[in-house]
């Protein structure tokens, strides 16, 4: 590939652009026409109008302005009629002319033009599409904010979810099946309508976090616990000790119960957020019951979360 030197192989006959003098009222371009060209206004004035009543003026071109680049390079339709509002001089770069010009450009310049055009096209496309890439994660997050054991009209849920995410109904229905298979939601039918019940919003939240970890190509933390950490988890969940203790006191308590647990294990437990402080200046820790429950639930329902029922 030689991006810098193309002229030696691509010297071809150059088709020059067409110069025209047009009278006021002359139609320079009509959307009905199959011919595509870039129109450059040299002198005078051109107006672009709607093709349907009341034929409103969309924009006016002054000398130096040009239109039709997207129509020529990207086949984007130019939907307005372009006419001269006064006697004008124009230059028309036809498809053939542009093609011959592009062929003799250095490859890097040709690549630059194509890149500018392609990036614009991608951005325009992305503007009308949903931003969501993992639709299942999005649905799980949405449902995790709904209250437990309430029967929701499924059609209403899908409508609201689509309003939020612009994800198609067909995709959402497939994702609902995936949640149903994992027993994270329940569906029922009454009077010809389907209702959806959230079994446990926290479980859906855990599932969302699991999918997020998968996206980041990292193991979901609750499923990375060592055997001893799992035993400590069960011990802490059963503990009714709500009193705050210093780090050394907790280390001593845990070590008494699990002799192989040492200071490094304590540091790991802090990273897992199983203990928290009342305030940042305090040296007293207490069990973070919410986090403990989260880990326990993630482990208890691992088959549901992994979808290996």
């Amino acid at each position: 590939m030689n991006m810098g030197n193309s002229k030696q192989t691509s010297r071809q006959q150059l088709i020059p652009p067409t110069h025209q003098s047009v009278k006021a009222g002359f139609v320079v371009y009509s959307p009905k026409s199959e011919d595509r060209s870039i129109v450059i206004l040299e002198e005078g004035e051109l107006v672009a109008r709607e093709t349907t009543p009341p034929y409103s003026t969309v924009f006016t071109m002054r000398p130096g302005d040009l239109v039709g680049v997207a129509a020529l390079l990207e086949r984007e339709p130019f939907k307005y009629e372009l006419s001269a509002s006064q006697d004008s001089k124009i230059t028309l770069v036809t498809e053939e002319c542009m093609e011959s010009e592009l062929k003799r450009l250095p490859l890097w310049l040709l690549a630059l033009i194509r890149n500018l055009s392609a990036k614009t096209h991608q951005l325009k496309k992305a503007t009308v599409q949903t931003r969501v890439q993992n639709t299942l994660k999005s649905l799980a997050e949405y449902l995790s904010h709904k209250p437990q054991d309430t029967e929701f009209n499924l059609a209403e849920l899908i409508r609201e979810f689509s309003f939020l995410t612009k994800i198609s109904t067909a995709t959402t229905q497939e994702d609902l099946k995936s949640l149903l298979r994992r027993h994270l939601i329940k569906l029922s039918q009454k009077n010809g309508r389907i209702f959806c019940k959230i079994i446990d919003p926290e479980l859906l939240k855990i599932f969302t976090d699991y999918l997020q970890a998968q996206e980041c190509e990292s193991e979901f933390i609750p499923y990375k616990l060592t055997y001893i950490q799992k035993k400590i988890l069960v011990f802490l969940s059963a503990s009714e000790d709500l009193t705050a203790k210093t780090g050394p006191e907790w280390i001593s308590l845990i070590h008494k119960k699990f002799s192989i647990a040492d200071v490094s294990q304590w540091i790991n437990l802090l990273k897992l957020e199983w203990f928290q402080k009342n305030d940042s200046d305090s040296d007293q820790f207490f069990i973070n019951k919410e986090k403990i429950q989260y880990f326990l639930k993630a482990l208890r329902y691992e088959t549901n979360i992994r979808g290996v029922l």
Partner: protein, 313 residues
Amino acid sequence: MTLDEGQVLFYEGDLGQNLYVVRNGELQGTNTRNGEVNTYGPGALLGELSLIKNEPSPETVTATEECELLEITPEVFNKTLEKEPVWFKSIIQFLTGRLSIAQVNKHKSDKIKALPSLLYILDTCSSRPKGDLGVEISLTDIVDCVHNLFNSAGYDIEELLHILEELDILNVQGATVLIKNANVIHLLYESIRYRAQFKKTPPQILSMTEQMVLNAVIKAVQQSNAPLKNGTFTIETAFLLNISKRAMFGATLTTRTLLPLLEHKLLSTPIPLNKGDALPEIEAIPSFSGDFDTILDLMELNRIYPLLDKKLV
């Protein structure tokens, strides 16, 4: 030019002016603002907008393996263009301008489209009251939830939170977001949802006359000494008429002007006003009642609703 593995071509925000074409090897671009990661292989271009518009680099580009690049300086670029017809430069400028507009539009669109998701998360997370000071939610939780739901970038969410803060709906205090009035968030979410679904003005959005009447009602309640009963007020019609003369800027309060608010059940009367019956004179109705908080929240929604659209666009 060549780059070794791990060598940085340019950093995010750098004001480079050169265009690079990848001849061999692979580079990776990372954007800290939106977390995007792009890979550039043979034939890919880097730094187009830096060359043409002197724009800062949107990402940090690092060679992931040994690379060979073609470097195009502004001098080479301009000399090449000088050899081309004059109109050719206009086409490049046009394409560049169009790309810049598309980038701005995409950013605006991402922000606008993230608003319903943000309001949904704020609305559903507001059910954790803390004292009388409103509702506190962790900023990280909000950003994570909206990201999971709509894949929104953190800076889009923070910009939206800033707009809501300017509208006095919430306060961002370090790592915490304090929602001042959860009901208003709920009303705003439902209004936007209604507008999107039915493509018409939501019923919560009141006409100017309705707002003037409710403004008079609020002033009357605030100035009267009668206590609220379970949040419900009752104001004497004579007192309301007196207040409305000043609060309604010359407009006259009549049964007809009050009718839409009675129909929406925002206000009620001790005597029944049946549909189809001739409307009584306002003086014939002894008093008006309603839920004060509901009216205050609705008025707050009507203050915010038109401003939000302006701030987003």
